[in-house]
Point group: C2
Chain length 459, copies 2
């Protein structure tokens, strides 16, 4: 007869960290047991809320000793179940680690604790006229974004979290604390463990602090909304822009369904057709020149300007509309849950990939607006699942599976920015068929007992 380690480990954690850090409150267990996805979860044994790297190390040491699995958690905005807990696990909730440890304005980096939110960091950077633009439109923790290798609308200009993390403090499975990278802007010293932990979704170690790259706030921005006669034209315009001297800060594709959803939700006024939202940044003169150059190029692809904005408030409002896409989409079917897809393909393959997917969608009865970080070849369907409609859920998963196969056949990836979590394990294995054994060897080397976020990424 095996004895559950639960009471012993909880007692020891409480003794080590203090009662305020360890909770088995049923409401908290449920709140912290899952992200924003449709993936399954069970309430964990407890939620531990450390306030320092040292407390995380202590937690890992104790859980390692008791062989209790640990599921690290940031702000819980994941879309593939990466932070979902099992009944035998501890939720290691890093959301109370919210200290901005250092802003090195002249050196363009900041070191923050894992629970610092993107909005919090950007608020602190404003006084320096600096920003941390990497990451999704939704607010999220720096640690969670790094663990997921997140990106978002600004990746086309500033890169993803991969290009914006210089160094990490990581607690390993046994509780040892390591520092990867340095505060130098580049390095050829030793193995690049920083990038190994970025995107590992808490399965190799727990990110407790991150040193991230900062960027100057542009003097000026100019944004525009452009209507296109076809998807092909939209993508060809973007490719032409990327191959020119234009520097796009953002370039987002909205399909006709998305535009329709936005019109109903927030009074968006663009015509219901394939739409590009663009932004240029720089000096005031530069953004005017860049926008004019884009307009000239756009004419070759029969693009029509619907709207432009240069005032900060106007630009902000325009992009807020874009960030409303998810709630706007969900509002199309009251109570519907969205199943978000996330493939990324070489840009020239986008039209074919999207058109084949739209044809596939037509064969079933699912509403699925599309938005795309088109400059990166990454796009999302938000397939709306009416409440309680299991058949719709099954269909949506089949559509997603075929979409992933399509993207992989085109040299793409099954996830551009949402991560693997629970939802993409099969596709990830297909994508990295030859490299899977090497990934497993790395996992076994760093977490031999398999205690860190078990069942995620590799499965």
């Amino acid at each position: 007869m095996s004895v559950s380690p639960a009471p012993a480990v909880l007692k020891e954690l409480t003794t080590a960290l203090g009662a305020g850090r360890v909770s088995a409150d049923p409401g908290l267990l449920e709140a912290k047991a899952h992200d924003r996805s449709y993936h399954s979860w069970q309430p964990p044994l407890a939620v531990v809320q450390p306030r320092s790297t040292q407390e995380v190390a202590e937690t890992m040491r104790i859980c390692h000793e008791h062989k209790v699995p640990v599921v690290p958690r940031g702000s819980g905005t994941g879309l593939e179940g990466g932070a979902n807990t099992s009944a035998d696990s501890i939720c290691l909730d890093l959301s109370a680690m919210t200290q901005i440890l250092h802003i090195a304005a002249d050196d363009l980096y900041a070191t923050v604790e894992a629970g610092v939110m993107k909005s919090q960091l950007n608020a602190a950077l404003a006084a320096h006229r600096l920003q941390f633009p990497a990451g999704p439109g939704v607010d999220a923790s720096v640690g969670g974004m790094a663990a997921t290798s997140a990106s978002g609308t600004m990746a086309v200009r500033y890169g993803t979290l991969k290009e914006n993390v210089l160094a990490l403090t990581v607690v390993l499975a046994d509780g040892s604390v390591i520092r990867t990278g340095s505060t130098a802007k580049k390095s050829s010293s030793g193995y690049d463990l920083t990038h190994l932990f970025v995107g590992s979704e808490g399965t190799l170690g727990v990110i407790t602090e991150a040193t991230v790259t900062l960027h100057p706030v542009p003097e000026a921005n100019k944004s525009g909304v452009w209507s296109l006669p076809s998807l092909q034209n939209a993508v060809e315009l973007v490719v032409a822009a990327l191959r020119s001297s234009l520097r796009l800060t953002r370039v987002e594709l909205l399909d006709d369904l998305t535009v329709d959803a936005l019109r109903k939700y927030n009074g968006y006024t663009a015509p219901v057709t394939e739409t590009l939202m663009v932004e240029f940044s720089g000096s005031a003169a530069e953004v005017e020149a860049q926008y004019a150059q884009f307009a000239e190029l756009a004419a070759h692809y029969d693009a029509a300007e619907h709207l432009q904005a240069t005032e900060p408030d106007e630009c902000q409002q325009l992009w807020q509309a874009r960030h409303d896409v998810l709630p706007a989409t969900v509002a199309l079917i009251p109570g519907a849950a969205p199943l978000a897809t996330d493939v990324c393909v070489p840009i020239s393959k986008l039209p074919e990939c999207i058109l084949q997917t739209k044809a596939d969608l037509e064969s079933v009865d699912l509403l699925a607006p599309i938005v795309g970080h088109v400059g990166d070849g990454n796009f999302h369907l938000a397939m709306l699942l009416p409440p309680g409609d299991d058949a719709a859920a099954t269909k949506a998963k089949e559509i997603n599976a075929r979409l992933v196969d399509r993207a992989l056949a085109m040299g793409g990836t099954c996830t551009g920015e949402h991560g693997v979590g629970i939802g993409k394990i099969g596709p990830m294995r297909t994508e990295h068929a030859t490299a899977l054994e090497a990934m497993r060897a790395v996992k076994a080397a760093l977490d031999p007992a398999g205690l860190l976020n078990p069942g995620k990424v590799l499965g």
Copy 2:
């Protein structure tokens, strides 16, 4: 009594690959036994020159079976002994793998074999008005640059090899072939093995193919040479530029000794003082505006323009002068060998780091011009060792050791772009003291028998 595996392994390699691929010619053994550094080497057992990933796999399989160490080699331009061979090893010379496999112009990537030279790739890209700007000024192989995590003068704008490799084909220690990454521009799928192999200097696997990021050739460039009254002013000007809306394509620091060396070597005419060479790229109007904005900023730091260039030939000539720094420096002392240092620090720490190093140099009798990729905080001393002067070599190594300690104390790294090889093992261990065990675990996981480039990086 142990029997040397040499005759058996060479026979088997010759049978498998053909006589033309395996050589024990003494001249070739010596030529391929070392890079351009001062580090020690021994001729290897043989030089194997494969023409395909399959032949590399076959080589690794046979060497693995015989437990013979393998030292992968690109174009041999390394500066820390990363490709230097030992007497019991096989040199795996990838320089004959020179096929450009695919140029995806619209998707801004190319897939090439490891031995493709940067110059060869850029020549092939010219027809597409694309370029591969990452990497050093000296011509080098794509595989070698990736293995070293190289960078160079354009990193401030385009990033290092880390930011410019999308995917790799890698042969592991046992001869298995894996593909990392994808041709999608970004991905959150699985562990980032691509970045693990980039900079691993052939100690984790042999890079046989790389998919790299391409960039448009700018419509126009404008370059300038500026004289500064002090190092502090030069660095403060660069920091101000980096925090502004300026986009520097290159920004190089040359100290007074370097300028003096260039004047003697190639008729460089700039005044003998701290000097910045800058370049801006974009449309013709943009480069004029950016340059004018830089000039305005430069006035605040008492910078005086010595020269400017906009015609392609003039710009090319101006930057060729910069790339002549190494031969120009060596020419200062006939027959001298340069010991190149390579620390990288947060940019604001550059003046202190360089000035302390100059003071340290004054205490010994060594000539050591300095050049710096100042936008990245990376700089090089070329300490000139008169032929046969062992005392100078000892002094130079001591200077370098103190320089590394200084950089690490400032939050920097012991190598910004040259790699660890043999020469930086001690400093790398100091720099990554907490992460060393994790690095060793990764090495043991991927190369349990320790056959890949033994003694390099980790030691």
